[in-house]
Symmetry: none
Amino acid sequence: MFTPVQPGDEVPIYRQIVNQVREGVAASSFPPGHKLPSHRDLAALLAVAPLTVKKAYDELEAQGLIETRRGLGSFIRETPAAPAPDEVRERLARAARRLLTEARLAGVPLDRVEQLLRELDASDPS
Amino acid sequence: MFTPVQPGDEVPIYRQIVNQVREGVAASSFPPGHKLPSHRDLAALLAVAPLTVKKAYDELEAQGLIETRRGLGSFIRETPAAPAPDEVRERLARAARRLLTEARLAGVPLDRVEQLLRELDASDPS
Amino acid sequence: MFTPVQPGDEVPIYRQIVNQVREGVAASSFPPGHKLPSHRDLAALLAVAPLTVKKAYDELEAQGLIETRRGLGSFIRETPAAPAPDEVRERLARAARRLLTEARLAGVPLDRVEQLLRELDASDPS
Amino acid sequence: MFTPVQPGDEVPIYRQIVNQVREGVAASSFPPGHKLPSHRDLAALLAVAPLTVKKAYDELEAQGLIETRRGLGSFIRETPAAPAPDEVRERLARAARRLLTEARLAGVPLDRVEQLLRELDASDPS
DNA sequence: GTGGTCTAGACCACC
DNA sequence: GTGGTCTAGACCACG
């Protein structure tokens, strides 16, 4: 479920964890109600400091993707708290612009990019 | 050509500048041979410290997108130094995965995403 | 481990530091995994500005010799990132040509040069 | 006789020219008494500013390798002015240390390095 | 005029 | 405590 984090990477460890959960939710690998490992367990699994995982869970909770219940653990929200529509559109647009830039610099035509997207979409359990 | 930077943003100023140049090159707003403003001038234009712009130019040079010649200035490379193919593929794949995740979380279907990409591609002078 | 830098020298301070680390790694004085002093500490030790040491560390990281982890410090890489073979050969060839030129201008015969190399090789903890 | 200079290189153009002359003298391609092109001609040949070549010639004269006679041109000195023996030894030692470091980092054994040196020595008209 | 280096200090993010 | 970023200014080297 979780893949190793890269300590030397530019994106901080706690955000790598946030991203993994976001992707898991998007791909339905983490369905609503799914119980995440305790931050201590996940810390042991990923060989990072518990505080680092805690910070990731805190951010996920702030984003409305997970819910932490004292004494029980953290769970994927049944109904993810809807973020501001503006923010959603902004995130999407930024990711799209970014992909377009990378594709152009790499000399990859747009239909190749769309093909790549469809392949990724198919390969992931969506 | 250059749009204002956001000092408080999560992504550091120097990298915002890097991204603007990368996008400019990708969209051909900055054609090969194009002379960038001196780092001092751009610093004045964006109201940041000269060193901040210089750091951005340093990174662009390390990426092989621009060439800096002492006493002359910085220029978009005629033939961008080809980065390792692995890295290119990795950058593309990461950007694609990211877009896919954002789209899924936003509940936007894949064809809507492709439509968005095509619109962005058409609107930019490519 | 570190020897004083020369502020007035033609080769910039940050590069003198880069060279010291490169030589340390080559001579195995800095084995893989070895932790370098924090850039602040080394700056204090060498009596230079912290940013100067940081710039040296940045370049070493770009060269793939060290790895920097936020909050932890900088370490000699276990497996130094292999640079492009072309670049390696170029570095070697340039250094060899340079030595040959200096030797000829000094009127030192080739076997004397080779003897000097072997002495240096023996004296260093390699 | 002269090979193109690289404007984008880290080592300044005027020093690239200095090095070319030093190597030429060391390899006897430029024998004593040999007339160098006028700094204007060489500037045209290398496509650089005359001032840049002038600066190179100035440094070569300061090093005692060439002699400039008003109205006649610049010539390789018959008897190169002997620099301080200390400086010579220092230049040699530095070049040797540098080569040793590069070889170790490249994983090239010492006898391979000596072989490379002998090949370079043989290939150059010495 | 242009880039290259360096300083002394500040504030923030991360672990 | 560690690295990451930024500032405002200085001085030098290069073309």
